[in-house]
Amino acid sequence: MPEQIFEYAPAPESRAVVSLRSCYEPYIDGEFAPAKSGEYLTTVNPADEEPLAEVAVSGEADVDRAVAAARRAFDTVWSAMPGAERGKYLFRIARILQERSRELAVLETLDNGKPVKETRDSDLPLAAAHFFYHAGWADKLPYAGLGPEPRPLGVAAQVIPWNFPLLMLAWKIAPALATGNTVVLKPAETTPLSAMLFAEICQEAELPRGVVNIVPGAGETGRALVGHPGADKVAFTGSTEVGREIARAVAGTGKRLTLELGGKGANIVYDDAALDQAVEGIVTGIFFNQGHVCCAGSRLLVQESIAEELLPRLKARIERLRLGDPLDKNTDIGAINSAAQLGRIRDLAGTGTEEGATAWSPACELPERGYWFPPTVFTGVSQAHRIAREEIFGPVLSVLTFRTPDEAVTKANNTPYGLSAGVWTEKGSRMLWTAERLRAGVVWSNTFNKLDPASPFGGYKESGYGREGGRHGLEAYLG
């Protein structure tokens, strides 16, 4: 490694901007009321394992109350409100998210472990933009191409993951509300805090009571919510395993279902690619958000003729990544979200070595406390290896090679998943040829991991069904 030109001084974001309560109760019918379950869990900062707050584990009775409140709000207020008025509430929420973005960014980093650079520059602006975008749809739905008189479905039961807590909340709540549905949302067990702060924002925006209800909890809470007979619509983002369980639970009930599940995205680099840009894209593809991204480019497919040139450049770039305090504004790689997830990443990475692939990580010191995993690149990976087939959901890249475009496409599609893919080439016709053949819902060519409220997102095959974002995303909430 060449000599460092300069050292970075610590540049931590102040956490004083966040005032945490000691305990968060479910937000139902416009109020935080003690959970009937009487159960609580502790949410911790994954970067140092310090407890942040107690959060209720909503039980069946709490879910019942929340669904009833959402039904009441749907029947009496929200579905009948003129679209323009509904939209104005969403505009208000978008503005408050912008105003309180620093507070939310720091809170998200504390609860999730992701670098504040990402929460500040990515999660928060995108969450606010999602509300702003959908606000404008509320009074224009007849023009969405979904029929002349699109109708809301009713009560939407929504369950979101821990990797982008507030952004996934925005992806769920903004389109549901814009289309006239009401919501009961369960945030993830390990990252409930930004959703609880969002509940306060609903109060601040004077959103009519019951339109949004937040029921924190774990798996059982989610099961109670998606299985509740009062829900008309179920929307879930998370693992494919839980997605199957939900699809089974919903089967035969007539509830509408959208699922955004796992992925094993292929990032294809052809021999004519702009290599420096490709290296940046590969790094963004797998190390953004510690690789806790369903659309991560976790399989690098590099054309054999340039593999020897590309891999040293990639490793040199990875050596420059800074892992550590997520609140430090220079940090690139934050903490793994939970002990359980760290265990899963370690197990799967372990199989990579056992099955014969070669692991490489930069020299990097891991903090003593908290949950950490170094950026890792596996070479010599075959398609049969578990690290090439299973979603690791961590900062672990599997490198495979190919000789012909046909082989690249065949390998890219050789997965039950179909969420994302990347193509790197300077040749337009080859890019379009490849993009056309990839069985994936999002194809990033000469870029990666770009998201936008106007751009539909969602999977093929076992990565789920339905789209979120854009005109297409509205369909999930209209009948």
Binding site: G441, T447, D452, Y465
Partner: protein, 307 residues
């Protein structure tokens, strides 16, 4: 087979066959077979079942497809998917229109089969056949338009070209509606293949003969073998295998009746797209795009803009 006892009963044959009988000549009967990968095999199981008219007269023995036949059909549909989905919309439109042309030539046969199966007048049967032919024409016109209508160019907040296009889901298992053996069948099948999917169809168990005749039309319409595969037989035997099959991407439960909830659960394991229409369907109504969209995937492609 336990059912074979019923077969002796009743006069066999369509109106067309009877008229030949009247001329004093012994009619040459048709063997109703499966349609798999462009060929017309009998069931590998060697089984058949008797098909009767609305009045209870024996009409023919239809093949009773087995699980193996269903799996062979999925293999054929998967093999045909790459080629069919990459045809241009214009080309698929030409072929679907050709299907309408070929059906027109067999109008009398379809009319006789439907009149016998449903116990309806010749005039009523004829109007159903006309509607079925027109439905192929309708979807022939969609093949090069649905991408424009359903797709979009998305105005993202940055220097990126961003466009979304619908693509076919893949292999679709279609449970055809039992009550409308030709018009219903065409109404669920044509939208599936118009957009580039391939299909494995379970024909109306009660009235499978129009489906087999439709297969004979498809086989002579330049439709590549395997794009449509038609199984006749016992729905409760065939449907669960198709619903659980890992290489089937989507399931149309229009004709599944009381089996629908169980099949939907079977389909959850592989996260199939499931279409389960509710209520009675008016097959004469304008179908719009609602029968195409359940079997389309929206793909969004990003590319930076710059010099």
């Amino acid at each position: 087979m336990a059912e074979s006892g019923k077969r002796a009963k009743g006069a066999r044959g369509s109106a067309a066959e009877r008229s030949e009988d009247a001329a004093g000549r012994l009619a040459v009967r048709k063997t109703y077979k499966l349609y798999l990968g462009g060929a017309f095999p009998r069931s590998e199981s060697g089984r058949s079942y008797p098909v009767t008219s609305a009045k209870g007269d024996h009409l023919a023995n239809a093949a009773a497809a087995s699980r193996k036949d269903a799996r062979d059909a999925v293999v054929a549909a998967r093999a045909a998917f790459g080629g069919w989905s990459s045809r241009t919309g214009y080309n698929r439109g030409q072929i679907l229109y050709r299907v309408a042309e070929m059906m027109e030539g067999r109008r009398a046969q379809f009319t006789a089969e439907i009149a016998a199966a449903d116990g309806i007048s010749r005039t009523r049967a004829e109007s159903m056949v006309s509607a079925a032919i027109d439905r192929w024409v309708y979807y022939a016109g969609w093949t090069d338009k649905f991408i424009q209508v359903i797709g979009a160019t998305n105005p993202v907040s940055g220097p990126y070209f961003n466009s979304s296009s619908p693509e076919p889901t893949g292999v679709v298992a279609v449970i055809a509606p039992p009550e409308a053996p030709l018009l219903g069948l065409v109404s669920v099948l044509a939208p599936v293949i118009a957009t580039g999917n391939t299909a494995v169809v379970v024909a109306s168990e009660r009235a499978p003969l129009p489906a087999v005749t439709l297969a004979e039309v498809l086989a002579t319409s330049d439709l590549p073998g395997g794009v449509v595969n038609i199984l006749t037989g016992r729905l409760h035997e065939l449907a669960p295998h198709l619903a659980a099959h890992a290489d089937v991407n989507a399931l149309d439960l229009t004709g599944a009746g009381e089996l629908a909830a169980g099949l939907e659960e079977d389909a959850a394991q592989t996260l199939k797209r499931v279409l389960r229409p509710s209520g009675d369907i008016d097959w004469a109504a304008d179908p719009g795009i609602s029968w195409m969209t359940p079997f389309l995937e929206v793909k969004t492609v990003w590319h930076p803009i710059g010099v």
